[in-house]
Structures are given as C-alpha cells and as structure tokens.
C-alpha cells in the first residue's frame, strides 16, 4: 500500500512545473543518443572508420552490461538483466523526483543515458557501441553517447557527494 501511495505521489510530481526542465534534459539526451546510434547503424560499413589518432568509429554490439560483463547468449539471463536495469531506472526516477535541484540535474543526465541504452536492449536485443578510444595499440572499452552522459552524471555525483558535501 505504501508503495502504491508513493507511486501515486511520484506520478503527480513528474508533471510539476519544476521538473519540466529536467524532463527536457532527459528527452534531449535520449534523442541525441538515439540519433547517433541510428546514424551509425544505417551508415556503417564493417571496417572501422578513422577519425583521428585517438578515436575510431567501430560498431560493436554489446549484449552485456558495463565493461562487457554478463555477455551471454542465454535469453533468460539477458531478459533478467534487462529487468534489473529497468528496476534500477525506476529507482533512479524515484530518487530523482525526491531530490533537490542539483541532484535532480545529475539524476536527469544519468536517467537520459540509461533510458537510451535500455531502449536498445529492448529494440535490438543488444546495445550498439561505436566510439573506440585508443592510444597506439591499447583500446579502451568501446562506448556510445549514452555512456558518455552516464559517466558524466556519475562523476558529478561522486564529486558532489564525496568532495563538495559541505
């Protein structure tokens, strides 16, 4: 009963005027991510596209979570992970609605990126990663625009909560 009550309260909070700007941020990040992914998927060849000495564009489909963990062909495990991600995003939305202004901005950035990746998991059954950051022969994890925003949100979150607490 408490959960339903909280859900109804949150439902009313989402459409408040003060949350409008943050919802706009979520939609902008989600749209940017979607446009970039659609462009890459439609126009990409099999060969990596050279941008400069540090960045290549290379389309790789990730069926796991961050850092390629839980990459599995088992459909039930994939669906379970997708369910867990959905629950985490709902929790994040709940925290977002009950936070102060700066925290709302941080959570909006994270939720925008997370929704972008979740959408790919539901539509393509995998997340397309295409930004290949590298130095000489060492390649960092291939990532996408959503990952950039999630990482940004997490870094700001860490700085705010651990270094700028007072």
């Amino acid at each position: 009963m408490n959960f339903l009550k909280g859900f109804k309260e949150n439902k009313n909070k989402i459409f408040k005027k003060e949350n409008f700007y943050y919802l706009t941020i979520i939609i902008i990040i989600f749209t940017l991510d979607r446009i970039s992914k659609i462009q890459i998927i439609n126009n990409f060849n099999d060969t990596p596209y050279y941008l400069n000495d540090f960045i290549n564009l290379n389309l790789i489909w990730n069926i796991g979570i961050g850092f390629g963990f839980f990459s599995t062909d088992l459909s039930y495990l994939y669906n379970l992970i997708t369910l867990v991600i959905s629950v985490i995003i709902i929790i994040l939305l709940h925290i977002f609605l009950n936070s102060n202004i700066l925290d709302k901005l941080i959570y909006a950035i994270i939720i925008g990126g997370a929704l972008g990746n979740l959408c790919d998991r539901l539509v393509y059954k995998a997340v397309p990663d295409f930004i290949d950051l590298h130095y000489n022969n060492f390649h960092w994890f291939t990532f996408n625009i959503a990952d950039i925003f999630i990482s940004m949100g997490i870094i700001i979150f860490i700085i705010r909560n651990f270094f700028l607490k007072n």
């Binding site: 290379n58 790789i60 990730n62 796991g64 979570i65 961050g66 850092f67 390629g68 963990f69 990459s71 992970i81 867990v84 991600i85 985490i88 995003i89 994040l92 994270i110 990126g113 997370a114 990746n117 790919d120 998991r121 997340v127 990663d129 290949d132 022969n137 060492f138 390649h139 960092w140 994890f141 291939t142 990532f143 996408n144 959503a146 990952d147 999630i150 990482s151 997490i154 979150f157 860490i158 909560n161 651990f162």
Partner: protein, 105 residues
C-alpha cells in the same frame, strides 16, 4: 552509508552503461588471454590428421615381398649388363695386342 554509496554508484554505472565490446581493456579486466606477436612463443603444431589417400597405402607385409622381388630384378639386370660388357673388354684387349704387335715389328 559510507559502504552503501560507492556500491550504489558502482551498480548504477555497471547496469546503466553499456561500454564493452571485446577490446584489450575488457580482456585484461576479465582475465582473458591476449594474442601477441612474441618471438619466444612456441608455435603449436597442427592436430594430427590422416592423409587424403590413406586407404591406398599398401599393407606392411605385402610391401616387403614386392621390395625383395624388385631388388632381385635389379641384381639380375646388373649381372646381365656385366656379362654383356665383357666381350667389349676383350675387343679392347685384342686391339691393344694388335697395336703392340705393330710396334714390336
């Protein structure tokens, strides 16, 4: 709270982000073997495989008898040649004799 916060951040980051693929950094974190051009690496041999015309190879005993017969034939041929060559040697000896005779005269 001190323990919950970092784990909360880590869970959010791991599950919401999807950076991955199978690049070197991922392999190192997942403790996967990497292929490198190490000159001291021992090259692995290909697995053993039967030759394509394995059924056509003769059995061991049958091969021995054939070889023996072949050897016998070879010896016979050599002996025949040596017998045929002998008269020619005689001829040379006769020519020598004739030359010697002429010289003596």
């Amino acid at each position: 709270m001190k323990i919950i916060y970092p784990s909360f951040i880590l869970i959010i980051f791991l599950f919401t982000s999807s950076c991955g693929g199978f690049k070197e950094a991922g392999k190192v974190l997942r403790n996967e073997k990497t292929t490198s051009t190490d000159e001291f690496l021992v090259k692995k041999r290909d697995p053993l495989a039967l030759p394509p015309d394995y059924d056509k190879i003769p059995e061991p005993n049958s091969q021995n008898s054939d070889v023996k017969e072949e050897n016998k034939n070879k010896v016979k041929k050599i002996l025949q040649k040596s017998v045929e060559e002998k008269p020619s040697n005689n001829k040379t000896s006769s020519t020598e004799d004739s030359i010697l005779n002429k010289i003596k005269k």
